[in-house]
């Protein structure tokens, strides 16, 4: 437990450092984007956040798999916390993305963006995950159900992505083309630092929430021992 706390503190420290460097790099060092101008800077927050939430969802599924494999409530707790992180960062993606959309296209929301729609679907899906948890009595049954649902989530990601691909051009043509990863070195470096920062941030938040939840659990058990 002590070592656990320790690593959590360490990670959050790294997160802070990385975050500061990454953002300052983005603001002061990385060159301004040719066609999008200053608004492109949000890219350094937006995309790392998005990718981080993906990572969280996959982590949740991995833990869920372990639960079904081995059993044991600790995996349930971890999987749940990971989903929680994923949803938090997903919301951040939606917000930053919407802001970006507003500044660069003038709309808060555009259906024609793959990522957007995909994210909306995932967001709905994982919100339902919370519904499922809250309306089921805690216990082994709930742990397993949540685990299965979390695994469905990561399968849904590629499937929905494919679906949206197909839907495009059918529903309406892609209006905006944007050049993705092919950016110049300094941009890319900055991006990588920001990504690392976001991952570290998510990781430390994950560990903090987890330790909090575990503390509650052990406290409850203690109370019952005494009672």
């Amino acid at each position: 437990m002590q070592g656990f706390r320790h690593s959590a503190a360490l990670l959050s420290l790294t997160a802070a450092v990385l975050l500061i460097t990454g953002l300052s790099l983005a603001v002061f060092w990385a060159p301004e984007d040719a066609d999008q101008g200053i608004s492109q800077k949000i890219f350094y927050v937006h995309v790392p956040v998005a990718l981080t939430s993906y990572a969280a969802f996959f982590w949740a599924a991995w833990k869920a798999l372990r639960l079904l494999w081995k059993g044991g409530s600790r995996y349930d707790l971890e999987s749940y916390t990971a989903v929680h992180m994923g949803v938090i960062f997903g919301a951040l993606t939606l917000v930053t993305g919407s802001i970006w959309a507003k500044v660069s296209w003038g709309h808060w929301w555009v259906w024609s963006e793959r990522q957007l729609t995909l994210f909306l679907i995932l967001f709905l899906f994982y919100s339902a995950y919370f519904m499922l948890r809250y309306s089921t009595d805690p216990g082994p049954r709930r742990e397993r159900t949540s685990a299965v649902y979390a695994i469905f989530g990561v399968v849904l990601i590629p499937v929905s992505f494919l679906a949206i691909r197909l839907a495009e051009g059918l529903i309406h043509p892609v209006v905006f083309k944007r050049d993705g990863p092919d950016m110049e070195g300094s941009m890319f470096l900055t991006f990588c630092v920001c990504l690392a920062a976001m991952l570290a941030l998510a990781g430390s938040l994950y560990l903090l929430e987890l330790s909090g939840k575990r503390a509650d659990a052990s406290l409850r058990e203690l109370r019952e021992r005494l009672a």
């Binding site: 899906f125 499922l132 309306s135 089921t136 049954r141 397993r144 159900t145 469905f152 849904l156 679906a163």
Partner: protein, 213 residues
């Protein structure tokens, strides 16, 4: 193997028998489909694209299916019969498959009414549409049954199931609509088949975990 098939058959048969007695599900589905078609008839302007029409049809089918799924496990809760099935020596996935098949049967029944009605009100039914519906049915039934079993363990099931189901159903709608309106339906039908395959396997493999502790 033959034993597995026999189990599935026995379980599906049971559901159909129960429905035959109670007539709980199918009439509700019929009501909904027909009502939906009537709504379209009024809502859609005469010159509306076939695109819109078929889109409407798909929405109607999706929600009709949801009605069936919501009720699929209500009966099982009555006298703890789901426990009875779980205790039985049959493979748990057989329970899932049996349910899936019975849900599929209800869907086919509703569609046997819906599609002709659709042809009557709007435009004739193409083979692509039929193929798309057939494939989508499988996806709906497989995923829906699993989620239904999940929701059965929760409070407010009737409300929860649609929430769990809709996000997973979006790809089906995309594929189905695409198959009906696009120029080369092949891609969409293939996509639907893929979806069915993936989620059928997934649901088949994971059902045991959601019904047992």
């Amino acid at each position: 193997m033959t034993g597995y098939v026999a189990d599935v058959a026995a379980l599906a048969r049971k559901d159909l028998l129960v429905e035959l007695r109670t007539r709980d599900t199918v009439p509700a589905m019929l009501l909904f489909v027909v009502a939906a078609l009537v709504v379209f008839h009024f809502a859609l302007p005469a010159e509306s694209a076939r695109f819109a029409a078929s889109g409407m049809l798909w929405i109607a089918l999706l929600f009709t299916a949801l009605l069936a799924l919501v009720r699929a496990f209500v009966g099982e809760r009555d006298h703890g019969t789901l426990d009875g099935l779980i205790l039985a020596p049959c493979d748990r996935s057989a329970i899932w498959l049996g349910k899936t098949l019975s849900v599929l049967a209800f869907l086919l029944f509703a569609e046997a009414v819906a599609l002709p009605a659709f042809a009557l009100f709007y435009e004739d039914v193409t083979w692509e549409l039929v193929a798309g519906v057939a494939l989508a049915n499988i996806g709906i039934a497989t995923v829906g049954t699993l989620l239904g079993a999940m929701a059965a363990a929760a409070r407010a099931r009737e409300l929860l199931l649609p929430l769990l189901f809709l996000p997973l159903a979006i790809p089906l709608v995309v594929g189905g609509v695409g198959a009906t309106v696009s120029d080369d339906p092949g891609r969409y039908l293939a996509f639907l088949a893929l979806y069915d395959l993936i989620f059928a396997v997934l649901a088949w493999a994971s059902f045991e975990y959601v019904v047992t502790e």
